[in-house]
Symmetry: C2
Subunit: 329 residues, 2 copies
């Protein structure tokens, strides 16, 4: 469901790429997409309008058509054989629905689970780095500033950025709110911030979801989310305070062994994470590792593909894990 969207398209591509055993595939979308078709395994698949009765009657369902639709469909899955992987925010904070990054808390996705949520993209990438550090050294506090690609805002926003950038290069005026050669430090709706002031929906999601996935309900986590004119990989500048005081080599060793993490940490040699190089990868690149002297804190930078690990791939890994009845590779 949401097959013509930017995440839906990525799901189709990755199902094929990973040879997920698909006997039959149906593509659903909203009424706007009627008459369109998607391509899967060399065939053209006509897009069907969302119909709860038709959608529920499958082994595996991926939902990426917005939280409102997920909420509408939820009840229709009761009693069906479907295993549902919901890429929207609809049920991410509902205790009965597992919120899973397989490399981090895959054990929460039990064999009998029929409905699970895929976390927010920024959260997935962040927890891949935070989880091994927390296991090894104990997190005391986290400060994050994000550099988020436009793909997270959907296909139309991506097209707008490309159009506006072209217009800007041709000397035309673009709207003040355009992301072309610009930044927008606001992603999502405006929410009250515990502590005082206002935060964005994206900032709220990252804090709440990361705490849930890491299993640290009161982790101090300060997040600033910023949209940048990058096409598909998100990056994050992260500082953590830890209980233990490991050496940099101990930190490197822990991250090097962490699933989904690839160390790219040689500043002098020009090796550090960039969104261009992280586009198309399955996990995250982590680098720029260093310690702040006082108070002791570890700083680092990470990049990961927002559409793959940040959304579609994570959902498919969850489906693979349940199909195999175990953890991810």
């Amino acid at each position: 469901m949401g097959a013509t969207g930017i995440v839906g398209s990525e799901i189709l591509k990755i199902l094929e790429e990973r040879r997920f055993p698909v006997k039959a595939l149906r593509a659903f979308a909203s009424e706007r997409s009627v008459g369109k078709s998607v391509s899967f395994a060399g065939r053209s698949v006509a897009v069907e309008v969302a119909d709860p009765e038709a959608i529920r009657d499958h082994d595996v369902v991926f939902l990426s058509a917005g939280a409102t639709l997920s909420r509408e469909l939820r009840a229709s899955f009761e009693g069906s054989r479907a295993r549902v992987y919901d890429n929207t925010s609809a049920f991410r904070l509902e205790p009965s629905v597992p919120l899973v990054v397989p490399e981090v808390n895959g054990q929460e996705l039990t064999a009998d689970c029929r409905y699970a949520s895929v976390p927010n993209c920024t959260t997935i990438l962040l927890t891949l780095a935070l989880h091994p550090l927390h296991q090894a050294f104990g997190l005391r506090r986290v400060v994050v500033s994000t550099y988020q690609a436009i793909s997270g805002a959907g296909a139309q926003a991506l097209e707008d950025l490309l159009q506006d950038t072209r217009a800007h290069l041709e000397g035309a005026d673009v709207a003040p709110s355009s992301l072309a050669f610009n930044l927008i430090p606001r992603i999502g709706p405006t929410l009250e911030k515990p502590g005082g002031g206002w935060q964005t929906g994206e900032e709220d999601k990252v804090v709440a979801e990361a705490r849930r996935i890491l299993g640290v309900a009161d982790l101090p986590l300060a997040v600033t989310c910023v949209r940048v004119p990058v096409l598909r990989a998100h990056s994050e500048s992260v500082m953590v305070e830890m209980e233990a005081r490991p050496s940099l080599e101990e930190v490197r060793s822990v991250l090097r062994g962490a699933p989904g993490v690839e160390l790219r940490d040689d500043l002098e040699g020009g090796i550090y994470p960039t969104p261009r190089q992280a586009s198309g990868i399955d996990g995250i690149h982590v680098g720029r590792l260093r310690f702040e002297p006082e108070p002791s804190a570890l700083s680092f930078f990470l990049s990961g593909d927002q559409l793959r690990k940040g959304a579609a791939l994570n959902a498919i890994q969850m489906a693979e894990q349940q199909r195999q009845g175990g953890g991810v590779a």
Copy 2:
């Protein structure tokens, strides 16, 4: 000196714009620029090759042709009548050379000073916000992640970004290191980091210069500097811990009254700093103000014009202050 560069051009423009009383103007540059001319007050001025004897013989000299050249020229100013404003990093940490943001520590630029340094662009913008907060509430710790425009890397880098962006839009491959629709979390050379690991020259500058300008030699200040595909205004995501625990309204009131600071803080109303809207302004825009609940910390976002307040304008304000024998307006 450096008249054909990106900061030199901006200096000429702002001298004109602010009606700085110029009787005669000469433009110097490196040998590469011989044969070029610059435009000032409607006239074309031929560019001359840097010659210490010719350069020293002026009332006011602006240097923006790299630290090496500033170091070479320094001795030639001894005994001359010139007041020199050095936009390079050559002497920024030398105690005998004032390092000045007029709105912050203008009092350090005394009437008899003949050689003063203009701080790093990121530092200038940051201290405009940190200084009033430190005066009012006492800074205990600062964490900064930057979003820096390409203009800070010079005219050629700006041209490269525009070219690469065009190429990318036309479907051509661009180098992995290109900034087009990308980020580069490395600005400047690689330096050892006190605490462990490696930092960039830009990160080192911001920490050392901000401590000096704020007059807090041991201020804990963690900085991550990232180049973003934005043309001329820098932005910074900042979190501060303070001695006092002011209300958000008290913070707003202090920032509202701070010279060089314009509050743009209405998330719901779509009012927050962006580099597009900060391009061409004389100070900084500050917004996204909010408190982290535990431990208590203030987060905010700022944007300012890297070429104006971050470089050329700050130098000219210093010259204006000395000419008038007092503080800035």
